[in-house]
Amino acid sequence: MKRLLLLAMLVLSCSAFAANTRAPDKTFEAARESYDAGNYADAVARYDELIADGWQTPELYFNRGNALARLNETGEAIASYQTALLLNPRDADIAANLKFVRNRAGLPVPKHTLLHRTLGLLTPQQWRTTAIAVWWVFAALLCAYWIVPHRVDWLRQAWTLALLALLIAVAGRAYAWQQTRAPLVIVTEKGAQALYAPLPDATHFFDTPEGTTLRLVEQTGAWLRVRSDSQIGWIPAASCAILRVAR
């Protein structure tokens, strides 16, 4: 009897696992069919359903961005593409669609320095893994260099190179940490404005057209303190999407 019960539990858990793994594929495919049929709102709803279930992949956010772009929801589309780009920064398709939507809306494309572009090539998770791997390699090489009785030149060169790689990885990790600390904020509401103070009747500071990319400085209740170039103003949290990707 005990064995039967165990067997039943095993079968049930396997089937539950299978259902759980198949479900996102089905919904994803259904969303694609809706998109192909021109039913973009339905496609967005299905993608949102997957996101609400906790799924997080660049493909999901990319396709959602496409559907929103077809609905002319510029702000939400840009937010979705940016999230996809955070999950896969080297995907050319995502960057192309993001640029396309920005151009169509007449929004300026943010310019980044070579250093920022280089450090932005990997996701925070990838930088962390790289940093740990390089750290182990560096430690192993340095230990070997110390232990081998007669100091070997190639070992010295190897650990020096590993140290250089470690510094780069640490810089990348620090950059990723900084990006996580001050996440991107995308304006999703038409006519939103940044104000001088977190009050509804505060003085207008600068315009934030729908789809504008800002950087979060702090959050206080229903208001976000955001940075745009050198200006820092307040904007209602309901007018924006904060892009936070699980680490």
Binding site: T21, Y35, G54, W55, T57, N66, N97, N103, W135, H204
Partner: protein
């Protein structure tokens, strides 16, 4: 009065067409005995001869150097050379410096005159008779130009007037500034000037913002400036006291854009603009994309400038114009519009117009560019177009993909990832993974240091190992004594003495004797009683070792002596080790 600036060289490396010359003098109001700084700047005139000021009646002029700078903007190189001079007035009065002419050899450039006011030093108006701080400084608000229309970008300037002798620090903050209905850029401080008002001299600091009025009407402005006045304090120290200066009331009048004569193509641009359109290629096949580049540049509310719209005939397939370049500082926006001719009957791209309101002329302006003649051939081989042309020329030709659309959807990912929050176990593992190499490095480093140290100091290692070796030999001695091997035990005891005191006192085995050891240990601070006990250990050990094995083995006294001195030595070793340190 027109003076001529002398030109030293006839040859000039650059064309005079792009050349410009400006003159500045600051301050323009000064007291007798003070000097003003002047600057003549030659723009885009490399190699041009240096300008020389002629003798100015009532002034002494002294050259104080030359500055040169280069800049690159949009691939164009520009340069400017400034010649600085100091002007010192010799008499009070109102003067005029200039106008001048600068002869470049290929043309003459006029430099307008600058008025200069020189106040007499004993003039009571220049001295301050004010009793209160408020009388020593005040704030005004000015707008430039005087006539402003809604959506027009204009300069709003806060002017802080202070009488000479009143010291303020650099920090100035703004309050009570109601900017409802106005859009402002951050304030920037301009170069200070000096002005005489009713004969009183003032230093003036200017804070400028670029403003745009969103609506028409009257905007009362009366901002307050918070300044910090510096007073001399005791013991050569200075004290800073904050002071709020209320500006004089200023009513900003904003006019409504006139509805009369408003073109249909007007989309809100206010200012002065230039408009250029280029179309490429003008010889194409049906279905080929033709790109219209619309370039709008000027001074005005660039934010409101949008792509000019024009009536596109049905013979073209079109895409929305998109912004491809934007340079707010240069006042430039560039749009691109893609048109695709549907058939070969199209002969031109229609004219494109851009309308704006010019506040200086107070009227709407419309700039029209085009039409652009177009030579089209049917899709496919152009040479055989006449032979194989479709009977229905209106049939749309197949178009090529332009790449001006969204990239299509992506396939489902192979591995679905879920948002996860790190568990305590994962955090612990991550911490361990990060920490382990560091611990390994520390351990290996310590080991290597010890190894290297041992290689350099073998005696030190022996000394460090001496207590352990001695204890081991003592244990061996005790075990042999229990077995009844007195001779062997005595030998082990001797080994213990050698292994302990040899390295400790740096003595070779042959020189190790009770006298030497006791003498050295006594000098290290071992007590007399302990020295005596040590002496006894040595003598009993020697006695047992050299007394003959059989006799010693049979003696019960020998065994007791051995056990006693073994214990005695075990007690002495820590004391000896302690004093030897």
């Amino acid at each position: 009065m027109r003076n001529l600036l002398y030109i030293a060289a006839l040859f000039c490396a650059t064309s005079a067409v792009a050349m410009d010359v400006t003159m500045e003098i600051n301050p323009r109001v000064l007291r007798l005995g003070e000097s003003a700084m002047g600057k003549i700047t030659l723009h885009d005139a490399p190699g041009a001869p240096p300008p020389r000021l002629p003798a100015l009646s009532g002034f002494t002029v002294e050259s104080i150097g030359r500055e040169q700078s280069y800049s690159f903007n949009n691939g164009e190189r520009s340069s400017q050379v400034s010649y600085n001079f100091r002007i010192t007035p010799l008499a009070a009065g109102d003067f005029q410096i200039g106008p001048f002419q600068y002869d470049t050899g290929s043309g003459v450039i006029n430099i307008p005159a600058i008025a200069l006011q020189v106040l007499a030093r004993g003039d009571p108006a220049t001295g301050s008779h004010a009793q209160h701080l408020d009388e020593l400084m005040f704030v005004t608000v000015t707008a430039n130009p005087d006539v402003i229309y809604s959506h027009q970008a204009f300069d709003l300037v806060l002017n802080l007037y202070t009488q000479p002798g009143l010291n303020l620090n650099r920090n100035v903050s703004l309050s009570n500034f109601d900017t409802t209905g106005l859009s402002l850029t951050p304030f920037e401080e301009q170069s200070p000037t000096r002005e005489a008002i009713n004969g009183t001299l003032y230093d003036v600091r200017h804070f400028r913002t670029r403003a745009t009025a969103i609506a028409s009407g009257t905007f009362p402005l009366q901002p307050h400036l918070q300044v910090n006045v510096i007073f001399p304090g005791f013991f050569n120290r200075v004290e800073t006291r904050p002071q709020t200066v209320e500006s004089k009331p200023f009513a900003l009048q904003i006019r409504e854009l006139p509805s009369e004569g408003r073109p249909t193509s007007f989309s809100g641009a206010v200012g002065q603009f230039s408009f250029d359109v280029s179309a490429k290629p003008l010889q194409a096949k049906v279905g080929d994309p033709i790109t219209l580049t619309l370039r709008i540049q000027g001074r005005g509310n660039m934010d409101a400038v949008s792509a000019p719209s024009f009536a596109i005939p049905d013979s073209f397939r079109s895409y929305d114009a998109r912004l491809v370049d934007q340079q707010p500082n240069a006042g430039l926006k560039v749009f691109e519009q893609v048109l695709i001719p549907r058939n070969a009957s199209v002969s031109e791209i229609p004219a494109v117009s851009f309308s704006y309101f010019d506040p200086e002329r107070q009227r709407y302006e419309t700039l029209v560019r085009g039409p652009f003649p177009l030579t089209l051939s049917a899709a496919g081989a152009a040479s055989s177009a006449a032979v194989i042309q479709s009977p229905n020329p209106a049939t749309p030709a197949p178009t090529k993909p332009l790449g001006h659309d969204l990239v299509y959807l992506k396939h489902a990912p192979k591995h679905w990832q879920q948002k996860t929050t790190p568990t305590p176990q994962a955090t612990a593992i991550r911490l361990a993974v990060n920490t382990l190499p560091a611990l390994a490095l520390i351990a290996i480093f310590g080991y290597v240091r010890r190894r290297e140290h041992a290689e350099r100091n073998p005696l030190e290692i022996l000394r460090r190992q001496a207590p352990r070796s001695a204890r081991s030999a003592l244990a061996r001695s005790g075990a042999l004594a229990k077995k009844g091997d007195v001779h062997g035990a005595a030998q082990a005891l001797s080994d213990a003495l050698n292994q302990f005191f040899g390295p400790l006192l740096n003595l070779p085995p042959g020189q190790l004797s009770a006298d030497v050891v006791c003498q050295r240990m006594r000098s290290n601070g071992l007590s007399e009683a302990q020295c005596a006990a040590l002496h006894e250990v040595f003598s009993v050990c020697d006695h047992l070792r050299y007394s003959g094995s059989s006799a010693a083995d049979k003696s019960a006294d020998s065994t007791r002596d051995l056990e006693r001195i073994t214990l005695q030595l075990a007690d002495l070793l820590p004391a000896c080790q302690k004093v030897s340190k």
